[in-house]
Amino acid sequence: MGKTFAEKALGRAAGYDVVANQVVTVEPDWCMSHDNGAPIARTFKKIGVKNVWKPERIVFILDHAVPAPSSDHAVNHKEVREFVAEQGVKHFYDVTSDGGVCHQKMCEEGFALPGLIMVGSDSHTCTYGAYGAFSTGIGRSEMAAAWATGKIWFKVPESMKVVVTGKFKPGVSAKDFILKFIGDVRADGADYMSVEFHGEGIENMSIAERMTLCNMGIEFGAKNAVCRPDQKVLDAIKKNAKCDRWEPLWADEDAVYAAEYHYDLGDIEPGVAKPHKVDNYGPISEVKGTKIHEAFLGSCTNGRIEDLRAAAAIMKGKKVAVRTIVIPASWIVYRQAMKEGLLDVFLDSGCVICNPGCGPCMGNHEGILAPTEAAISTANRNFKGRMGDKESFIYLASPMMVAASALKGEISDPREAL
């Protein structure tokens, strides 16, 4: 009987053959934390261990509220800096032009690598599956314990196979597919499972598109989500892999799956997640014309250069009808957008461009909604209160749909704006 990706990755880390539902204890290749490194450091100190197990395996990236919008946030950042200095944490991305959204940085800086076991104190840690890593989010206590012991336990998950064929039609993107998929399998569709994306439809996608898919894995319950590390990935990591522990792994042809789905990307149309759940899918025909008050282009889901290019192509030479916030996912993306003239396109259209970070995605700053207002956003969650007010409404969509909607002030079909 063949093995799934999760069985191979966790077996490799454990040092012996494993099967689904077995419990293993492994050493993580990387432990990533963001602003919540501060409370984790306080918990770590309660354990009573003097030093973290391997300071070179710990990564801190400040992104959730940067630069600090309040004294509370500033104290939080200060505690992170003190802990980094005290423990000699090797990889620290402070509020500088080396920074950005943690998941984007983990990928563009060469931490996300095939076959590695990566944990992060953030639920969207599953993003690194786009590079073939086994990556998953954990809580604060668990991260503190991992720093102290260098160990973490996992139940080897059962796996879901998603086979994707075909190509998107113009105006349709990976975000439209994953929102439709989540609408079909629901928010708990892959609870506790490892999700593998297979097929030529995935091979044809850029790594950025695969990151969008894997990033949204948690929104249908996945423990991790992963794509085969093909030549695109091997070429991308050649320049800056942060370690040599990696190894490309993929499921065997005869691996056993708990569930299997098939999709043709040519069948996908633009769509959204309606308030207040990510699995509340609606095709464009259902929501077209819905009045919005804000558009947000950014986040770990869709703040990459490819996303900015797609949105700029629609906005070029036109004016936005509502306030539109653009946040490149990192300063590397920001610089590239600047070089390509995309920032000028956004500014000429009337957008506000903020510094790389999580921005308004989780209601911290830079675009909080007022009660009764609605936003269209490229982020990953539309839960009640997510963008700061529980009487507001969030529609999740692709960068192209956000751009098209910003121009009209209502949810609009990007195919008509191409």
Partner: protein, 164 residues
């Protein structure tokens, strides 16, 4: 050990943002303050009136969304005795054991329990008593029992490292 308490019942896919809003993640640091905003964006009645010993009953996928552990801490600190649900989202599930908050997966019991009911849970025998009926639930794996007994992951790690 057994507990008896009044039920606060909710539906499917209750997410961590409505249990502990994201805007508080870096402004509220004390556990006692976390308890004050528990379920603020889900149910203000709970937020105002929940008492220690009360029980939360949820549908499927309780605690989906963010990994924020405060969504467990705020409920535990509020004195909630146990959460019974049809299923739990993965990270929330782990966070509960790591915080030493008992949780039970029992879809049949959830269907039989209503808001405001008085429910008894006997952890030793693995039985939920509600509305004159009994519902069995399986014992936790041994490793998880150890976590709960030690009061969560941090005390458990301290003990295992000989630092308790």
């Amino acid at each position: 050990m057994s507990v008896k308490g009044k039920v606060w019942k909710y539906g499917d896919d209750v997410n961590t943002d409505v249990i502990f809003p994201g805007k508080y993640t870096y402004t509220i640091k004390e556990r006692s303050d976390m308890a004050k905003v528990a379920l603020e964006d889900l149910d203000m009645e709970f937020n105002k009136n929940a008492k220690p010993g009360d029980i939360i009953v949820g549908g499927k996928n309780w605690g989906c969304g963010s990994s924020r552990e405060q969504a467990v801490s705020c409920v535990k600190e509020r004195g909630i005795a146990v959460i019974i649900a049809k299923s739990f989202a993965r990270i929330y599930y782990r966070n509960c054991f790591n915080e030493g908050l008992p949780i039970i997966v029992c879809p049949e019991a959830v269907d039989a329990i209503n808001m405001g009911d008085e429910v008894e849970v006997d952890f030793e025998s693995g039985v939920i008593r509600a509305g004159g009926k009994e519902f069995k639930f399986p014992a936790y794996p041994e490793f998880v029992q150890g976590l709960i007994k030690d009061g969560g992951l941090i005390p458990h790690v301290k003990k295992s490292l000989g630092l308790a």
